[in-house]
Amino acid sequence: MRFLVPIAIFAVLVVVLGVGLKLDPRYVPSPLIDKPAPEFSLTTLGEEPKPMTRADLLGRPVVLNVWASWCSACRIEHPLLVSLAQAQGVEIIGLNYKDTRAEALRWLADHGDPYRQSIFDPEGKLGLDLGVYGVPETFVLDGAGVIRHKHVGPLSEDIWASDFAPLLKKLSASDGTGASGG
């Protein structure tokens, strides 16, 4: 009997390694899912900055996209964001992360502006509270300001269709009935 112990342990090991192959070791799930988005007090990105706080994100589901002019990967997803905003009317709020106002505005002028509004976060304070670790990142907030989903890395059509569109649909449905979406 005891001669079978090694093969048994080894079999378990192989199964674990096999499952492990399908996982992405670099993906870190956010502990903020289903938690209220953090409070903040920043300004909008624009020639005439206006104050912006968490209250401005409430009342309807919101897609919050973290971007920066220095982020090369943001360029990959940007056309998708532009088409989502223009063709489908999705409300996307930008979070301009650790950037300068001038460079950020020039970048938007060059590549198109899909954002209803961009939050200007030059020191990355809100980014830190949101646990941002690799730009671009995209969050979904429900009407009550609770974080419902987070994606790290550039978005693609497929990711949008599988992870974002259904969730947004669900959220706005429950929101329409007057519930807070929580």
């Binding site: 090694p6 192989v14 390694l17 499952v19 670099r26 870190v28």
Partner: protein, 656 residues
């Protein structure tokens, strides 16, 4: 064009490997002598062909043949020739070619000494090594072929990863692979013992020198890797319990258990099952290491660019080779005869305890390395297991290990008594204790508890070694002369154990006695750290062959009149867009002074700078070197003995 021949040689080598696997094993099944011997020839041919393929790839690198995808990805016209050569094994495909070349080299080496082995054992060993080789050559050719061409050829190459543009890389991987892959030999011997029902002391004698050789290479490879991380990664660390470091450390730990268990199996005929299992386990961990480094299941500072398809392939190799071996073990293992009996207090008993403890240490590292993966696989969240865990868990296992190690190397075979051990060791242990207390009083470390514990453990080993030497020379007339005529195997053992002690002391002292400072310095500034005054003199830019660099000049002085100049650099490799830190190091027996440049801060030329005084850090690698030398001595003692016994063995092998 030579690379085309190299590609062809690679395909021929696969054919050779297949024949090496099939013919001798069939020969054993059909009891045909000439078929059994065929493996020896196939192994040498395979080695020759792979050597040719390897040279073909090297030639492509030297001749800037950017028509090869692999060369285009890992070389550059500005890369100096020696790095172009080491770039051959600088990334996945080429290093895998080196892997199979080393495997074939080991098989060829065994084949050259096969005359001292029984024919059937040699045949199974060759067959098993042929199987391993076949599996990895298929893997190489199907998923990771370094000879693939691109059309049109690239204008220039994407350059070798700057981390790897270092002398350390030229030697580190070959040494490491010699170790890793070398454990395929005891593995093959273990299979041969199981298949032929020959778990005998003679079997242990055949496998021992090969195991020692592989262990020596792995020891050196790991030490060099740690040294390389120390001066190349720029943060003064020498071991981080990174998955890839663990991947090489686990086979070393279990391999250490194996070389000790082999001694008992040979001399006393005991633990044969356990030894066979350790031989299988050690090679299994080598394969696991290959899997961890190349599949991308775990993130690591050193991992190769990875691809899940490769992971599945290696997992299949691991599963079938090791799974097959363990099934064979479950089937044939129980047939081993019990060895000679021994008492509770005896060298056998202590050696068994030690190989069990080394196994526990191995499993601890394995569990810590794979636990995040297991949790993730079960969707129970993501965690990180890092140095705080490993230092604690591993340290815990080390304590009983070292205590028993001191007893084991002194105790007699078969039966000893606690009374005798106490009497013989107490004087030495007492002296060690006093010395340890004194050392701590002098050093006055921050964490004096762990430091005292570590120092006492190290001194305990010194004491037990000294007692062992004393026991051997005290009865002799000319004690000094006797000291120089001690048997080579015994000297090897002492040297290796003292080496372990030196490393242990190095680990403990460098952790507790080092000081560092992370600060902002501009040229002209100076700062004090311990007894040293560090002055940042100047900063200068220069252009290297394939990088731009900023070099700082630092003067370090002490009140005692010491004076050193260190020149750390920050390099920027243009082709890869990568920044690299080259630390400035002033080595010393009791401390290294270590300076690395961080980032420029502001416009006044200030930089963030890390200053380290690394106490006793050289001892880590010095100890490893001593362990390796001890291994070589023990090995040479075996070979000498073998040569004397060769006529008898040759006679024995002619018997059916």
């Amino acid at each position: 064009m030579i690379s085309e021949y190299g590609h062809f040689a690679l395909a021929l080598a696969l054919a050779c490997a297949v024949l090496q696997a099939i013919v001798p094993l069939t020969g054993v099944a059909l009891a045909r002598g000439s078929w059994m011997d065929f493996g020896n020839h196939a192994a040498r041919w395979q080695f020759f062909l792979l050597g040719f393929a390897f040279l073909g790839l090297a030639q492509a690198f030297l001749a800037h043949d950017y028509g090869l995808v692999y060369v285009a990805q890992n070389s550059n016209s500005a890369l100096p020739w020696y790095y172009r050569l080491s770039a051959v094994w600088g990334a996945h495909e080429g290093s895998l070619l080196l892997w199979v070349l080393v495997l074939a080299g080991w098989a060829a080496a065994v084949s050259l000494r096969s005359r001292s082995l029984p024919r059937d054992i040699a045949a199974v060993v060759m067959g098993v090594m042929g199987l391993v080789s076949t599996a990895f050559l298929l893997f190489l050719i199907i998923t990771s072929n370094p000879f693939l061409r691109r059309w049109p050829a690239a204008q220039d190459g994407a350059d070798l990863n700057p981390l790897l543009q270092d002398v350390g890389l030229i030697v580190h991987p070959p040494l490491l692979y010699m170790g890793y892959v070398g454990f395929s030999v005891p593995f093959a011997f273990a299979i041969a013992a199981l298949v032929r029902g020959r778990m005998t002391p003679a079997w242990a004698r055949w496998a021992r020198p090969w195991t020692l050789a592989a262990w020596v290479f792995l020891t050196l490879g790991i030490a060099l890797g740690s040294f390389w991380a120390y001066y190349e990664l720029g943060w003064g660390g020498w071991w981080f319990w990174d998955p890839v470091e663990n991947a090489s450390f686990m086979p070393w730990l279990l391999g250490t258990a194996l070389i000790h268990s082999l001694v008992v199996s040979e001399k006393r005929g005991s633990f044969k099952n356990w030894t066979v299992l350790l031989a299988i386990g050690t090679f299994a961990l080598s394969l696991l290491g290959t899997f961890l480094v190349r599949s991308g299941v775990l993130t690591s500072v050193h991992a190769f660019a990875t691809d899940p398809a490769r992971g599945i392939f290696i997992l299949a190799i691991l599963g079938s080779l090791v799974g097959g071996a363990l099934l064979l073990y479950a089937w044939r293992g129980p047939s081993a005869l019990a060895g000679s009996s021994y008492g509770l207090v005896s060298r056998e008993s202590f050696l068994l305890a030690n190989s069990l403890l080394l196994t526990v240490a191995t499993l601890t590292v394995l569990i810590g390395t794979l636990y995040p993966l297991v949790l993730d696989a079960l969707s129970l969240g993501k965690i990180s297991v890092g140095p705080p865990y490993f230092n604690l868990a591993f340290g815990l296992v080390m304590v009983p290990l070292v205590v028993v190690m001191g007893l084991g190397q002194f105790a007699r075979w078969k039966e000893d008594s606690l009374g005798r051990l106490a009497q013989a060791l107490s004087r030495f242990a007492l002296a060690a204790g006093l010395l340890g207390g004194l050392a701590i009083a002098v050093l006055s470390p921050n964490e004096w508890g762990t430091t005292l514990g570590g120092v006492l453990l190290a001194l305990w080993l010194v004491a037990s070694t000294a007692a062992g030497v004393w026991a051997r020379i005290r009865e002799r007339q000319h004690r000094w002369r006797a000291l120089f005529t001690l048997p080579r195997a015994f000297v090897g053992q002492c040297l290796a154990h003292l080496g372990f002690t030196v490393t242990l002391a190095g680990v403990v002292l460098t952790s507790s006695q080092s000081a560092d400072l992370h600060t902002r310095l501009a040229p002209g500034d100076s700062v004090e750290l311990g007894q040293y005054t560090v002055q940042f003199e100047s900063l200068r830019d220069y252009q290297g062959p394939n990088y731009r660099a900023t070099r700082g000049t630092f003067h370090i002085t002490t009140t005692g009149g010491e004076r050193h100049t260190l020149m750390p650099e920050k390099r920027f490799y243009q082709v890869r867009n990568m920044a690299m830190t080259e630390a400035g190091i002033e080595p010393g027996f009791t401390r290294d002074l270590y300076i690395s440049l961080g980032e420029p801060l502001g416009d006044d030329g200030a930089w963030s700078v890390r200053l380290h005084i690394k106490a006793f850090v050289r001892w880590l690698w010095l100890g490893a070197l001593m362990m390796a030398c001890g291994g070589v001595l023990a090995m040479s003692a075996l070979t000498v003995r073998k040569r004397r016994e060769a006529p008898q063995a040759a006679l024995a092998s002619t018997l059916p």
